[in-house]
């Protein structure tokens, strides 16, 4: 028996995501020069670079950044070990010690795990982290936000962009999500109508699996050579009794051999460590549960001694676009619009890094936008220069060199590892062809009764946690009575409902008596089921997690 997620996935709700300019229903309107959707590293780097360039050219520029989180950084999650390259380029006057980093990576180790044992393996060349910095993306985002505001950028947190506003084939802005609706969607106490923000350029920096970015590509018929594929990362922040003192990556257990992924543990402070597990969403066992696997991972003798007696202080989850070069949209620019960072798929998978690419793409976008604005062309502006800048940069070159590395792992971990090694030594010339991939939702899932890696173990509430406990630690305090933001397919069969319940790390989906139950307020915007099942759409501002140091 097999299950194909795509057969149960509803289509992207294009009628909600793409609106004609001036569509009925808006409250306030605001006009900007440049509108950035998403206050992550990509969006903020774009806004900062743009404000700096404008200042240097003595140009008045009205730049706005929207974010769906209640406060800066609260929806941002990453490992993270940061390659400081983009920081140095964006802030040439600052030193590394001025950046919001926790410390340089001094020691690192990669292990191959079995249930009880571990083998230290040589660190793959792409994964060397010497000279890079351990950081919390939440802190990076808050720091970048402060720099942007100093430069006069307007940051609006708590305002999710819900729809693209369009004129012909051009993007002219966005409409934000309304607030204060009741469960049935009628205006309740504290209702705030959507706002229409229009701009000469809209930069979509929504992050992973962006709803508007997806809608725009679909609307404009922009394809990619391969479909984008994703991994789901589940992460916990621990106050530890013992200092970790080094960066750890693991492969192997507790992942089944048909799953691609691994774990990380990074020391932020002597008594604070980030721990996470990342698993490609093209795994075959329908019962695989990343959150549950992370709970199992923590019991391994490699991790347990650090965690025991400590306290899990934060939990979060996020998908990562892993397709690399061949999954990038054929173009990331259009009339009045550019796509940045994770929303476009700029992630350096072999080195497990995306923050520097995100920032870099934002900076290139800024460098393309300003001349276009100054040229004073009649709208809509064409921004193909952005694609050119990215493609000719180290971002484009590196992505091309490692174009097949992640894809090789479809063949399983060992074969994949061998091919990846060959790719590294040939600087990408091996294998000389493009691996074709299936979209994650097209991958056939095996339904093995009883076989449910990681789940079925009772969490103890000290070392291991249930999904509801986890959501609690994400800071999620979404209003219980907002209308559901998840678009679920019709008549979901029980086995599909169970599949969703395993995919979602936040306990949004539950199967009971053969029926799918959806606890939409639990959602932490990781987008995993948007990849494999029910669609995610923007909801009331400030909903979702409130990450502090993820």
């Amino acid at each position: 028996m097999a299950l194909i997620p795509a057969q149960h996935q509803p289509p992207l709700p294009m009628e909600r995501l793409i609106l004609k300019e001036g569509a009925a229903g808006a409250g306030d309107r605001m006009e900007l020069d440049v509108l950035v959707v998403g206050a992550g590293p990509a969006g903020l780097a774009c806004a900062i670079e743009l404000a700096k360039l404008a200042k240097a050219k003595r140009t008045e520029l009205n730049i706005g950044v929207l974010d769906k989180a209640e406060a800066l950084g609260e929806h941002s999650l990453s490992g993270a070990v940061v390659n400081p390259r983009a920081f140095r380029e964006l802030f040439p006057d600052l030193k590394d010690s001025d950046f919001p980093f926790h410390g340089k990576v001094k020691k690192e180790a990669v292990y191959l795990l079995t249930a009880e044992g571990r083998w230290r393996v040589p660190t793959p060349p792409t994964m060397h982290n010497k000279g890079y910095y351990i950081a919390s993306l939440c802190e990076i985002v808050r720091w970048l936000g402060a720099r942007a505001e100093e430069l006069g950028v307007n940051i609006f947190t708590g305002f999710p962009a819900a729809s693209l506003l369009t004129r012909g084939s051009a993007v002219v802005g966005v409409r934000t999500a309304p607030a204060g609706l009741d469960r049935e969607g009628a205006p309740g106490a504290g209702f705030a109508a959507p706002n229409d923000l229009t701009a000469k350029v809209t930069a979509l920096a929504e992050g992973t699996r962006g709803a508007l970015s997806q809608a725009w590509c679909k609307w404009q018929g922009i394809a990619s050579l391969n479909p984008q594929i994703f991994a789901l990362g589940v992460k916990e922040l621990w106050e530890t009794k013992r200092p970790l003192g080094r960066v750890i990556h693991t492969m192997g257990w507790p992942l089944p051999s048909d799953a691609f992924g691994g774990s990380f543990m990074y020391p932020l402070e002597p008594n604070l460590a980030a721990l996470g597990l990342v698993v490609g969403l093209d795994y075959e066992n329908a019962a695989l549960d990343v959150h549950a696997l992370l709970q199992r991972l923590k019991q391994h003798p490699l991790f347990r001694p650090y965690l025991e007696g400590g306290e899990m202080v934060e939990w979060g989850a996020k998908t990562i676009p892993e397709g690399g070069f061949y999954s990038l949209p054929n173009r990331c620019s259009g009339e009045g619009v550019v796509i940045l960072g994770d929303a476009a798929g700029f992630v350096d998978v072999p080195s497990l890094k995306g923050i520097h690419y995100a920032m870099q793409s934002g900076m290139y976008a800024a460098r393309a936008i300003l001349p276009a604005l100054k040229a004073g062309d009649p709208a809509p502006l064409h921004l193909a220069e952005y694609d050119r800048l990215v493609n000719h940069s180290y971002v484009g070159r590196d992505l091309y060199r490692t174009r097949n590395m992640r894809l090789a792992f479809q063949d399983g971990f060992l074969l994949g590892g061998l091919q990846a090694a060959l790719m590294t030594v040939t600087r990408g010339l091996f294998p000389g062809w493009r691996y074709a991939v299936h979209a994650d939702a097209e991958v056939h899932r095996r339904l093995t009764p009883g076989g449910s890696p990681g789940s079925g173990e009772q969490p103890d509430g000290r070392l291991t946690f249930s999904k509801v406990d986890a959501v609690f630690k994400s800071g999620n305090a979404t209003r219980d009575t907002i209308p559901t933001h998840l678009v679920v397919g019709q008549d979901v069969p029980a086995e599909v409902a169970r599949f969703y319940s395993h995919v979602c790390p936040a306990g949004v989906y539950e199967e009971g008596d053969g029926v799918l139950r959806v606890n939409a307020p639990n959602c932490v915007d990781c987008k995993a089921t948007d990849v494999l099942g029910p669609r995610w759409t923007p909801r009331e501002g400030g909903s979702g997690p409130k990450y502090k140091r993820m």
Binding site: M30, A71, F159, A192
Partner: protein
């Protein structure tokens, strides 16, 4: 209507409390600071009064660190007209110290109303408002959950144990606001933009240590293991005794 609203910057209610290395204060690393939720009612009430009067000024006053400018901006984004930060390195544990500094700043301001939240969610002091009223010689009603004002006379309702006290007072007055008084608005996009351009004066103040000396901050005692009191209705008298004498909640 000329209205002063006195606000405080406090750690978010979801803050995970970690005690700092001095053993006397909150470790502020990773703590999110917000406008004190009870003060939101005060800001909202002031805005509604000004809107109803069709004219007037709502001035936000805050005693706190430089970062409290952000908190003031939140109130300005809601619609207040201007802000004043009494910048102090620290907020004293002694609410009277705060009250003296605030009263000095408000003195002779010609206010019709001076509003406070009924308490701050960090220190639970619920005292600065009525103390300021005493220092300024103004009438004061605390914990107002319903308010009507006609001309120079006001009627307020405040919740007391087992009832609602209906209180009459003349203007100008100091009021502290409770939940239920109104539904505070979210700042609108335009409000957020406008707030950036509104005047915000920063005045350094010296606030002494005051008469409350913090000796220690400690975590609350750990939750004790629960126990089964008994079976059936006969267990109720013992349950009541435990709730009264051990848990002290009845």
């Amino acid at each position: 209507m000329k209205i002063a609203v006195c606000i405080k910057r406090v750690p978010d209610s979801e803050t995970r409390v970690k005690i700092g290395p001095d053993g006397k204060s909150l470790d502020e690393a990773g703590v999110k600071f917000v406008l004190n939720p009870y003060d939101e009612f005060a800001v909202e009430e002031a805005l509604q009064r000004r809107e109803k009067a069709g004219a007037g000024e709502v001035v936000i006053l805050c005693l706190g660190p430089a970062a409290a400018q952000e908190t003031i901006r939140t109130a300005l984004a809601m619609g207040a007209d201007r802000g004043v930060l009494l910048q102090a390195d620290r907020i004293p544990a002694d609410g009277f110290g705060t009250a003296k500094a605030v009263a000095a700043a408000l003195k002779d301001g010609g206010w019709d109303l001076i509003l406070f939240g009924k308490m701050a969610i960090d220190d639970y002091n619920h005292q600065v408002g009525p103390m300021v009223a005493e220092l300024l010689g103004l009438p004061c009603v605390t914990a107002v959950a319903h308010l009507e004002i006609e001309g120079q006379k006001g009627v307020a309702e405040r919740e007391i144990e087992g009832g609602i006290e209906v209180v009459e007072f003349p203007l100008p007055a100091v009021l502290t606001t409770d939940k239920g008084l109104n539904e505070p608005r979210y700042p609108a996009l335009k409000g957020i933009m406008a707030a950036k351009k509104k005047p915000l004066d920063v005045k350094p103040v010296q606030v002494g240590a005051g008469g409350i000396e913090v000796l220690a901050m400690t975590p609350p005692p750990e939750r004790k293991e629960g126990k089964i009191v008994g079976e059936g209705p006969d267990a109720i008298p013992e349950l009541i005794r435990l709730l009264r004498e051990e848990a002290k909640v009845l």
